[in-house]
Symmetry: C2
């Protein structure tokens, strides 16, 4: 099954999540509602809500229970992006101006907090304490990942273990939680819930590695935010780590990449040259290979759930995480 | 009963909340854990945890259920202070340096988020969906109050209704939620839960009015943060509103206070003169009178719960909200 078929089949159900999300942007503060509608309306891929739905679909698939949870997860993700963009001073997200490029920082912090609150209200509306515990833990993991990223910034000596812990917190934990919440609300068995949680975690790791690759591989127009952003921020991602640790360039390119990473305000031409050196080194291909290993682990985790259409859809989603180009 | 007696009686139970809170500061990020221990250890008055406990004490008083909820509420409050101080660029809180005076803004935002997450985990550990819904709503109300405050800043034409909505969101909603959560966990009836929620809301209104009064009435040393801070930030609080609306000064002091409020960077001597004009005008006494009216409504709400020691303790807490000097 290919991912386009999955999206086609799930479109009506995802539309319900979309409508629920837009309800949350009806805020009466000046400017805020409009910008949020822009941010949420611009979409993003809705992979996390899709995961909530698919994780339940092999079991008891009750959209009235699932839609608020799926919308809550996506809103939690959106709230974390708002604070993340504010920290990174990012100007573009999903090709749209970020909140922090238009509103003062104090408003951005509070709007992010407010979105956290609304996401928690959506999760609370499931009235399922286990769902809420997973939800709260996801928020904790995201912050933990972000703090690790902040404290590791401008350091070239990051280990693979550090990187994995950081991206698990920042990204994979919410994928794991999305699948876990879907399975809980679908009344799956504990064994199946655990398998889907592991599936989501592996999928999330693959997804973040590819995100880090795209930041180096694609043009600004293509990914809707400036290319080489991680490098410019001093964040070591997997391709950069492989480039440095496996010494995949000559002495001068290695020195250049280290310089760009550790320098507090590297020049545009230095960043561009560092991106090019990493692109040509084979580091990107090595990183993609590791992402495929996570997809393989995700597929293995799926063996614990019943064979059938939904399992094929989940497998297609895992492959899409690596095959995507934006 | 006086408030000292209440505190004495509740000390061992509050100590358990304190210990639970300190567990939450054991973070492994550089500097963060120590500063949080300073912030949480410096105390604050723990009125919200006290309220959670007292609201249950007239019913089924089970500390194993109550302590995580009470710690969760206090941590939610602490998280909101972290973001609030970061927005206000405050340097002191509870007489201690704020996080944002020591750490870069991106760390402060994330540590605040992380504390929200930990507070939600504590609330989730009650496994009570109703408690969690109240908890999520409280966070939403706090953000709503903060956003209202931000958007009303540097405007002298604030109405009493605006002010009441703002301080309900910013402060009273969490007092209401604390009492409601205590009553829910104490297995009170719906009527009693509702009465305690109303009691908490009135108490919170009185508390915030007095906080706003203290900002004008007391010296920096006494309240652990700079006096006249609200005025300097362009925030109209009740005494200032009464001063302006009831024209409690001569034309030049009225003009001075309006100038300080609307000016983006008023001078220190202007702020001090404006504080003095409001202090001498009788506006503070009028504000305190309104605070006593809220205490009276809080006492009336208590009539719906059983007579006895706990009800007397709650009444003493309401009086303390106005009689306190810091």
């Amino acid at each position: 099954m290919d991912f386009g078929t999955v999206l086609e089949a799930m479109r009506p159900d995802l539309k319900r999540v979309e409508d629920r999300l837009l309800e949350e942007t009806a805020l009466e503060y000046p400017l805020v509602g409009d910008i949020l509608r822009g941010l949420i309306g611009a979409g993003g891929k809705r992979l996390r809500p899709l995961l909530v739905l698919l994780a339940a679909r092999a079991f008891n698939y009750d959209l009235d229970r699932l839609v608020p949870a799926a919308a809550g997860i996506e809103l939690l993700h959106t709230a974390s992006l708002i604070h993340d963009d504010s920290i990174d001073h990012a100007e573009l997200r999903r090709g749209q101006p970020t909140l922090n490029s238009v509103l003062p920082p104090e408003v951005v912090i509070m709007v992010g907090d407010y979105m956290f609150a609304r996401s928690a209200m959506l999760a609370a509306s499931t009235m399922n304490p286990r769902v809420l515990a997973v939800f709260a833990n996801c928020l904790g993991s995201i912050c933990d990942g972000q703090l690790r990223e902040i404290f590791a910034a401008r350091r070239a000596d990051v280990s693979l273990d550090d990187y994995q812990r950081r991206i698990y917190g920042k990204t994979a934990a919410l994928f794991a939680g999305s699948a876990e919440i879907g399975a809980i609300l679908g009344d799956a068995t504990d064994k199946e819930i655990d398998a889907l949680r592991r599936y989501g975690g592996h999928l999330g790791m693959a997804f973040q590695i590819v995100d880090d690759v795209l930041d180096l591989r694609e043009s600004t127009d293509h990914i809707g935010k400036p290319a080489g952003h991680d490098l410019r921020q001093g964040t070591v991602t997997l391709p950069t780590m492989l480039f440095l640790q496996n010494r995949l360039g000559d002495a001068s390119s290695l020195a250049l990449v280290e310089h760009v990473l550790t320098e507090s305000a590297p020049g545009d031409h230095e960043v561009a040259a560092a991106v090019l050196a990493i692109r040509r080194s084979g580091a990107i291909e090595q990183a993609i290979e590791l992402a495929w290993q996570y997809v393989e682990q995700a597929r293995e985790a799926l063996e614990a759930i019943p064979e059938g259409e939904t399992r094929d859809m989940l497998a297609a989603l895992a492959e899409h995480a690596v095959e995507r180009h934006y």
